[in-house]
């Protein structure tokens, strides 16, 4: 297999095209511009590839919704403020059960914030984000290789469950370069029944999220909820790193998990047995897997580049069975592994 040295943003674009994405719409925003530019450059070389620079993130999400219902594999990308604008459309795609991939290369927030790497959009991503009772599958890649693999998987899951899937990375992941191997994409499996191409001689179809009857709308909500239940059962992913002998486990995802691995190396050099639990799917959160760990490990430290968002999911998962500490650096501040190692060492030394 050939290895490619590429930046994270370009890797997402290349993986998407290889996965059969043939419609991309997006609006410039830092730190994800290289992805939009990659799609502009390379979509035209892909057979049937369509690129539109939209007038807004709102237009972009609705363009991909249209292209999705017309049968294309679709993607859009943005960063924090632009993702906020897309929420109306993401909610609508979830309601209409339209597949599509949305990439959020997170930056510091709230508001315009800054363009530094951050993880402040965890709540928005994992709680649905827009209005109404829905969820999106959320991947939190931590390496460029994972950006490639999970982007391809995102398209498959979007089709399989007919739901929007989000890649939640940050400015660090988007900008860094690492060698990657692109795996062979699976052939697309998506029924024509869900595609609008004109009724032909047959019965016309309509797709809508407006369901005025309360009981019908309730049933649609339960139908979505059952789907989310199946996703939770089958698609939850996580990584355990140096867990076996650990007395304390860091819980971190994405860039924060990379920093945590560096910190763990330092901590272990000083005989502090620290491991890492890294959610790969942020929704569904690997709740049961984390809870199972609390049978043998009683000390957890959540590390995020935020004021503590995934922290709530960790607490819910552990249900008081273990001690949960937190260290966070919000607003675009990125701590070094040495800083994190110092913080963790303090907690490690005062644990029971």
């Amino acid at each position: 297999m050939n290895k490619f040295l590429m930046s994270g943003n370009s890797i997402i674009g290349e993986a998407a095209i290889r996965a059969g994405c043939r419609f991309y719409a997006g609006y410039p925003i830092t730190p994800q511009n290289e992805l939009t530019e990659y799609m502009a450059e390379h979509m035209r070389n892909a057979e049937g590839g369509i690129f539109i620079q939209s007038e807004s993130e709102i237009a972009a999400i609705n363009m991909i919704a249209g292209a999705s219902v017309a049968g294309a594999r679709v993607m859009t990308s943005s960063s924090g403020p632009g993702i906020s604008l897309k929420q109306e459309g993401i909610s609508s795609m979830a309601a209409c059960e339209l597949p599509g991939v949305i990439v959020n290369i997170m930056r510091g927030g709230p508001g315009l914030g800054n363009i530094r790497p951050s993880q402040g959009d965890y709540f928005q991503a994992t709680r649905g984000g827009g209005h109404g009772d829905y969820r999106t599958i959320v991947f939190g890649p931590a390496t460029c290789q994972e950006l490639a693999d999970l982007t391809m998987d995102a398209f498959d899951l979007a089709d399989k469950y007919r739901t929007p899937v989000m890649i939640l990375a940050d400015g660090m992941m988007g900008q860094m370069m690492e060698p990657v191997v692109f795996k062979k994409p699976k052939p697309r499996q998506y029924s024509n029944d869900f595609i609008l191409r004109g009724a032909g001689e047959g019965k016309s179809k309509f797709i809508h999220g407006l369901i005025l009857d309360a009981i019908d709308m309730e049933e649609h909500n339960w139908k979505l909820a059952r789907k989310y239940g199946v996703i939770t059962e089958n698609e939850t992913r996580h990584e355990e790193h140096k867990i076996d002998d650990a007395d304390l486990t860091i819980v971190a995802y994405g860039t924060a998990a990379r920093i945590a691995k560096g910190a763990i190396k330092r901590l272990r050099e000083h005989n502090r047995k620290v491991g890492l639990f890294r959610p790969i799917t942020l929704w569904p959160f690997p709740e049961l897997q984390l809870r199972a760990l609390s049978q043998k490990i009683k000390n957890f430290l959540v590390f995020e580049m935020s004021t503590g968002q995934m922290l709530e999911d960790v607490r819910l998962a552990l249900q008081g069975y273990a001690t949960v500490w937190f260290h966070g650096r919000p607003g675009g501040a990125v701590p070094t592994p040495a800083e994190l190692a110092n913080v963790v060492a303090r907690y490690y030394d005062k644990k029971d």
């Binding site: 539109i52 237009a59 919704a65 292209a67 294309a72 191409r197």
Partner: protein
Amino acid sequence: MTKTIFKRPKSLKENIFHYCPGCGHSIAHRLIAEIIDEMEIRGVTIGVPPAGCAVLAYNYFDVDMIEAPHGRGPAMASGIKRVLLDRFVFSYQGDGDLAAIGIAESFHAANRGENITVIFINNAVYGMTGGQMAPTTMLEQRTTTTPSGRHKILDGYPVKVCELLSNLKGVTYAQRCSVTSPLNINKTKKAIRKAFQCQRDKLGFSLVEILSPCPTNWKMNPIESCKWIDNVMSKEFPLGVFKDNTAPAHKEAEAV
């Protein structure tokens, strides 16, 4: 021997319209369905209904449809059309949908010269939500959010969509019509045919604005409503062709 001279278009389902008596939506629906029948494009047409009174248009049109979020019809239609170049794609939008919340999507779909047709129902009011001010509400017109009449200093001026969009090079065809009389209805039907033909010829963006009565929210009877369009509304929004680049001389398509 009997001969059928008037029947329900095949592209309209049997459902009874939920629209109020005297509302222009039902006439507009029928005209679009007649054109779809006459051009024999029922099986290759995809419609995008809006949020607003026409949100239930998919209960009436017997063509494939997907409902767009409020104002986003032209963006969604752009996505559909770019993937399905040989299909007919139209969005159906009200004045709030097109000229307020969706002005950006409409403006830029028009500016890109997307090869789609926009049917724009202008009734100078937000119908479904109960008669609030629309971007096309007339000055001095009373609505539930302009109880003493639309005031130019406080509320701005009526937005003239045909005038605005016909300035864009991407727009091939733009006409404003009304449905207040058999004559005007026939003109509107011709305009809709021309718009769909423009799409068939891959000439780019086509827009048909229809001044349409809303007796319920105007608090008039249907006949008064039609007269108000003829005597008042069409002074502010003059009927006519604002742009027509569909002639052979212009047929170097700007469309995708």
